[in-house]
Structure formats: structure tokens, C-alpha cells
């Protein structure tokens, strides 16, 4: 069993779809779902054997490309495959009434998105990371423009142009790294980065920050995000918010920790993240469109994860992993329920929630919102508590205040939404939800509550993952051996 299958199988699936189409209309859908279930099984099998190993491709590192399997990368792989499998399950219910046009292509894009997100997390070669960055980008552009309405195309164009600019800066950074260090392997670069002249170090860091900054949705570079979320369908937004941005966040901080182990720019990144969170929550306050509102909420939460990662110590990274986990699941619930609501009501205004007649959806959305807010007994709580604690330990009281203020602002609009959901007014006829969709929602909500009530189930594992993520020498030892 090797982690290369996470890339090879989706690619094989993508290339072989014309053959699959010969076997009838549903062959693609069921093959894809079956493959994702297999990958899910594979991810948990790999996760249970806890030794860090590498998977060689073509030739051995440091010259060739290889995948590093350790606790932290497999955690994200398992999370992504789990979410993608649930997404497919949801879509199987959704397609009975509202199937996408050209479903084959839709499934190819979904699997490419999954493969590239996993590739970003596993890869240990910076140019290979760029290639996966582009695959993830290009499938996201197409997915956001998929419905070909004018707003979807506008979203796709904005996403594409910003993505193309980001990749120019990323290639520039990789170029400088190769010119000055002479290798593309992350471990070798990590060893050589210390000795570079300060100016070059600064330039490479800024270029990487700009290149990834567009994708991790950080403050001055996130002007496009909200439009993309509003233009795309809410089904796709679940993927953007749950999977893609998490992959970018992980790979960005993975690179930051490897290149700058002593945290020279850490404090700058912390303030950048806190500022982004505040700006996003303030801007979210006035929104009346559900997708736009949750896009701002997504920006805020991602900025919170960014802040936590930027602290660069084990406590904060553990907190970041907690929040990332809770946020992915909660946003999946939110965007998938918006999809269900929109199927009946064909509107994205928050007033729609008043007419919503489905106790199930209301309960599920409430759970997700409470978790996003960080109410005790839900998964979001423990993450927020940990990040505030570790900020207080580092005596960054200013950041603590900013985060609390931003969370309060977030609470205002969540309670407004909850108010809309539970006002007595004329209800429409009952919202029909498919059994498979109910199953998906129940699994997600169950995860949120279980982790909220009993965080000790995964906190030990996340703690270990956080230490692994911060431990450069272990990574270098795994990748290129001890020399």
C-alpha cells in the first residue's frame, strides 16, 4: 500500500472516463465513489501505522521527488478523503433532481481537486508543489465557473487571473531558491536557507507570501474570495472552504516552518492573520446574501487558523489543527445545507431562512454555527480556547483582544441568522432531503459533537502531529537521511 495511489488512481480515473462512459450512464459516478471509499480506507490504514516513511518516485531524494508520510500529512489526507467521500455521497442524492450538466467532467474535476490537494500535502519537492498548486487552481477555476452563468464566469475569471498572478510570484520564488541553494528538495532547502544573505531571504519570503497569500486568503490579497464564493454554486463552496484552502494553508506553513525555523517573521504573520480576521468579520456584518455572508465567515475562520499556525509553537499548531478540523466540517454542513435549501427556495437571501420548513436542516445548521462560534461542547470551542491560551502565554494581549472582538462580531450575525431560522412565519412546504444526504449531515454533525464533548479522543494525536510539523530535524532525517 503506498501513498502514490492517492494521485495515481484519480488520474487514472480521469484519463479513463471515456472507457467508463461505455458502461452506462452511472458508471462514472459509482466508480468515482467506490474509488474515494477505497482511498479513505487506504488513508486510515496508513494513518494507523505511525512511522514516518517516504515514498520514492523515480529516483531517491534529494535528487528526485518523493512523498513524505507522517502524522501531520496523513491527518490532512484522511480529512480530505473523508470530506470528499461524504461530498460524493451527498451529490448522489442531489443529482436525482438537480444533476449537473456533463456530469462526467464534474466528477473528473472533483477527483483532480482531491488528488492535487493530497499532492500538495504529501509532496516534498517545491517544484512539484507548484505543479499541484496549478492543478488544484485550474480545477477550482473550472468548478467555480461550471454553471456558466454570468456571475459564475465572472467568479471563474477573477479566480483565474489572481491565480495566474500568484503562480508567477511562486515560480519567481522557486527560481531564486534553486539559483541560490541549488536544490528543490524541501529538506536540502531547509538546511541551506539559514546561510543565505538576509536580503535574498527576505525577497524569497515575500515572494512566497504573495504567491501563497492569494490562495490562503490573507488580508490585502483576498479581495477576490467573496466574489468567487458568491458566483460559484454553494455545493462547490463547500469544497473550496473545506478542502482546498486547508491544503494551501498547510503547505504554506509547512514551508514557513522548514525555511524559517526560528520564526523571524512569525510576529508579523500573527498580526496579519488577526487583522484579516477583524476586517473579514466587520465586512461580513452587513451582508444579506447567505453565500456572501458565509464567505466572509470563511475568511475570518481561515484567518484565525492562519494566526494560530503563525505562532509557530506546539500549542498553537495543535489549536490550528483543531480549528481547521472543526471549520472544515462545519462549513461542509453549512454550504451543503444551503444547497439543499436553495433547491427548494431558489434564493440566497437570508430572509429565506424564515420560510424554511425543515427541523432537520435547522438543527444541523445550528450545530454548525455554534461550532463555528466556539460554544462549549462543540468542536470549535476547544480550538479557540487553545489559541487564546497560547496567545496569552506569549503575552500577545493585543491579538487576544482582536480575536475576541472579531468573534463577538461573528456572534452577532450568527444570532441574527438563528433568529431568522426560528421566527414564526409562514412556512413553505416541507423540504425533502434524501436519505443519503441525511446520513452525510448526521455523520458530520456527529463528528462535531463527539469531538466537542470528548476532545481527548483526538487531542493526543493532534498534539503529536503538531510536534511533528514543527520538528525540522525529524523531517530532514526522514527525507534525506542523517548527513
Amino acid at each position: 500500500m503506498s501513498s502514490i495511489l492517492f494521485i495515481a488512481l484519480p488520474l487514472l480515473f480521469g484519463f479513463a472516463t471515456p472507457i467508463l462512459n461505455k458502461f452506462g450512464k452511472n458508471a462514472v459516478v459509482y466508480t468515482s465513489t467506490f474509488m474515494q471509499t477505497f482511498l479513505l480506507y487506504l488513508a486510515f490504514t496508513l494513518l494507523s501505522s505511525t512511522t514516518a516513511t517516504i515514498e520514492i518516485i523515480s529516483i531517491a531524494p534529494p535528487l528526485g521527488i518523493s512523498f513524505v508520510q507522517n502524522e501531520i500529512s496523513l491527518f490532512f489526507v484522511a480529512l480530505f478523503t473523508l470530506l470528499m467521500t461524504l461530498f460524493s455521497l451527498y451529490y448522489i442524492g442531489h443529482r436525482k433532481t438537480n444533476a449537473y450538466k456533463n456530469e462526467t467532467k464534474f466528477f473528473i474535476l472533483l477527483n483532480m481537486l482531491l488528488a492535487s490537494s493530497i499532492g500538495l500535502v504529501l509532496s516534498s519537492d517545491i517544484f512539484n508543489i507548484y505543479v499541484f498548486f496549478e492543478i488544484a487552481g485550474i480545477s477550482s477555476y473550472i468548478l467555480s465557473a461550471y454553471t456558466k452563468s454570468s456571475s459564475a464566469l465572472e467568479a471563474g475569471l477573477k479566480y483565474l487571473i489572481t491565480g495566474a498572478i500568484a503562480s508567477v510570484f511562486l515560480v519567481f520564488a522557486i527560481t531564486l531558491i534553486y539559483l541560490h541553494i541549488g536544490s528543490l528538495n524541501l529538506a536540502v532547502i531547509s538546511q541551506g536557507f539559514e546561510t543565505l544573505p538576509f536580503n535574498i531571504k527576505l525577497l524569497i519570503s515575500i515572494l512566497l507570501l504573495v504567491g501563497f497569500g492569494f490562495k490562503v486568503e490573507i488580508f490585502p490579497l483576498n479581495f477576490w474570495v467573496v466574489d468567487v464564493y458568491q458566483g460559484s454554486t454553494s455545493l462547490i463552496n463547500a469544497l473550496f472552504s473545506g478542502i482546498v484552502v486547508k491544503a494551501y494553508l498547510f503547505v504554506f506553513f509547512h514551508i514557513v516552518y522548514l525555511f524559517l525555523p526560528s520564526g523571524e517573521f512569525s510576529i508579523f504573520l500573527v498580526y496579519l492573520g488577526a487583522l484579516s480576521m477583524l476586517v473579514a468579520e466587520i465586512a461580513g456584518l452587513r451582508q444579506t446574501n447567505l453565500k456572501r455572508l458565509f464567505a466572509y465567515s470563511s475568511l475570518g475562520q481561515v484567518a484565525l487558523i492562519f494566526t494560530a499556525f503563525a505562532m509557530q509553537n506546539a500549542d498553537a499548531v495543535q489549536a490550528a489543527l483543531f480549528i481547521a478540523f472543526a471549520h472544515s466540517i462545519a462549513k461542509f454542513i453549512i454550504f451543503l445545507s444551503i444547497t439543499s435549501i436553495q433547491k427548494e427556495h431558489s434564493s440566497f437571501e437570508i430572509e429565506t431562512l424564515k420560510e424554511l420548513n425543515s427541523p432537520f436542516i435547522r438543527a444541523i445548521m445550528l450545530i454548525a454555527m455554534l461550532s463555528l462560534l466556539g460554544i462549549p461542547l462543540f468542536a470549535g470551542f476547544i480550538g479557540k480556547l487553545l489559541i487564546l491560551k497560547s496567545l496569552a502565554v506569549s503575552s500577545l494581549i493585543g491579538v487576544v483582544v482582536i480575536i475576541i472582538v472579531a468573534s463577538l462580531i461573528e456572534a452577532v450575525y450568527y444570532f441574527k441568522l438563528a433568529g431568522f431560522m426560528f421566527t414564526k412565519s409562514e412556512k413553505k412546504e416541507k423540504l425533502k432531503i434524501d436519505f443519503s444526504q441525511k446520513l452525510v449531515f448526521s455523520i458530520l454533525a456527529f463528528l462535531l459533537i463527539v469531538i466537542g464533548v470528548a476532545p481527548f479522543l483526538i487531542s493526543g494525536f493532534l498534539r503529536e502531529s503538531a510536534t511533528v510539523m514543527l520538528d525540522n530535524s525529524a523531517y530532514i532525517l526522514t527525507l534525506i537521511g542523517g548527513n
Binding site: 528526485g64 499541484f132 496549478e134 485550474i138 539559483l179
Partner: protein, 235 residues
């Protein structure tokens, strides 16, 4: 005053912003010109002599960094898919004017020659400059010539899909065979004798993969070009 045209503020601010940025870059870069250090490429050049492939760039593209090439094929595949998705099912926007006799004859005559050149570049990729990407795109440009000059010409869709599928599937399968025989994805499991360097059959899987890449790129690019010109039906 009237002679001097006033520039819009956006132009001036854009100019200033980019100038400041680039001047900073330039200052840092000129102060720290890269010295000739020992790089990974030097090691690869030495390793390349063991693979029996004359063109080191081909070895790096197809074998040492073959995974990037697989990703690149995936990018082209998705882009072609996306373009097909965007431009299909629309009102046809045909080229209206009929091209004249000379152009038609000349392009018909040139088509096999350009295709032959593309195939040459593709097959000799491991011996001389060139390879799958270049050869594939050259073939696509031959198709483009026919598409522009002949109003009714259309690339047979089923053939393209067949080629594309075969090439893509066999690329991944070659990788997986390497995984099962050598325990290394994309490992060179075919014999690659150094003594055969410079011959057409040398280098194990490297020329085979580059030809597959060529077929794949050629069909994807032909599809992209056809979609952009004809906006024909797709899938």
C-alpha cells in the same frame, strides 16, 4: 498646456507602484548575483549517463522529475476539458469566408510535412532537442493550419478521444507497473543499457513515455484549437 496630454491617475500610480517594486527587486538581485555553486543538476548529469539517454533534459523531464510531467499532463487535460466545457453547446461561429484555392492546396500539401516533422521531434526527443511536448504542439499546429484553411474540416472527435484515453491510461499504467515491479512509481523497469546510448531504442521507458506524452499533448492541443476556432459540439 494643451500640448501635454494628461495621463490618468491610475496609469501614474500603477507605474509608480510597479517601478518601486521592481527597483527593490533589482537592487537585491544585483547585490546578490548567484554564484556558481554545486547544484542538484550536476548530480543528475552524472546519473544521466547511466540511463543511456543522450539528451539530459529529456531524462530530467521524463524520468528524474517524471512526476512533474504527469502533473503537467493533468493540467493540460483539465484545461482542455474546461475549454470544451466552456465553448460547447453554443451557436456556431464559423469562419465565413471561403479560403482561396492556393491556400487550400498549400495547406493540404504542408500538413503531412509538418506532421512528419512533429513526429520526428517527438520520437527523437531522447537524442536531440525536442520531445513529446514540442512534437505534440507541432502536430496540433498542423491541425490548426487545416482548420483555418478548410471551412468544413473537423478533427474526428472519436479518434482524438481514443488517442487521448490510450495515452493517458498507459502513462499511469507504466508508472504503476514500475510501482509493482521495482516498488518505485515511474521506475525505469525496462532494460536501459548505456552501450546503446544514441540509438533509437535506448533508455528503457524514457522514449516510450515521451511518445505517449506527445500523443496526449497533440490530441489535447488539437482539441483546444478546434474548440476555439469552431466551437463545435464536444462530448
Amino acid at each position: 498646456m494643451s500640448i501635454k496630454r494628461t495621463l490618468p491617475t491610475s496609469t501614474i500610480s500603477g507605474f509608480t507602484l510597479s517601478a518601486v517594486l521592481i527597483l527593490t527587486f533589482l537592487k537585491i538581485l544585483l547585490e546578490n548575483l548567484p554564484s556558481s555553486i554545486h547544484r542538484a543538476g550536476d548530480e543528475l548529469l552524472k546519473l544521466n549517463t547511466q540511463e543511456g539517454v543522450a539528451n539530459a533534459v529529456t531524462t530530467v523531464v521524463v524520468y528524474f522529475r517524471g512526476f512533474d510531467t504527469l502533473g503537467e499532463i493533468a493540467v493540460l487535460f483539465i484545461a482542455s476539458l474546461g475549454i470544451g466545457l466552456m465553448l460547447s453547446e453554443n451557436s456556431q461561429c464559423e469562419i465565413k469566408a471561403e479560403s482561396n484555392f492556393m491556400l487550400k492546396t498549400a495547406s493540404t500539401l504542408l500538413f503531412p510535412i509538418i506532421t512528419l516533422y512533429g513526429v520526428y521531434v517527438m520520437i527523437y526527443g531522447h537524442l536531440s532537442p525536442g520531445g513529446g511536448f514540442q512534437g505534440g504542439v507541432i502536430i496540433a499546429s498542423a491541425v490548426l493550419l487545416l482548420l483555418i484553411s478548410h471551412k468544413d474540416f473537423e478533427v474526428p472527435h472519436s479518434v482524438i478521444v481514443l488517442l487521448e484515453t490510450l495515452a493517458g491510461v498507459s502513462y499511469v499504467l507504466i508508472g504503476l507497473i514500475g510501482l509493482f515491479t521495482l516498488d518505485i512509481f515511474l521506475g525505469n523497469f525496462l532494460p536501459h543499457d548505456v552501450a546503446q546510448m544514441g540509438m533509437l531504442v535506448s533508455g528503457g521507458i524514457i522514449p516510450i513515455i515521451y511518445i505517449i506524452v506527445g500523443v496526449k499533448v497533440g490530441s489535447e492541443m488539437s482539441m483546444i484549437v478546434q474548440n476555439l476556432i469552431k466551437r463545435g459540439e464536444n462530448v
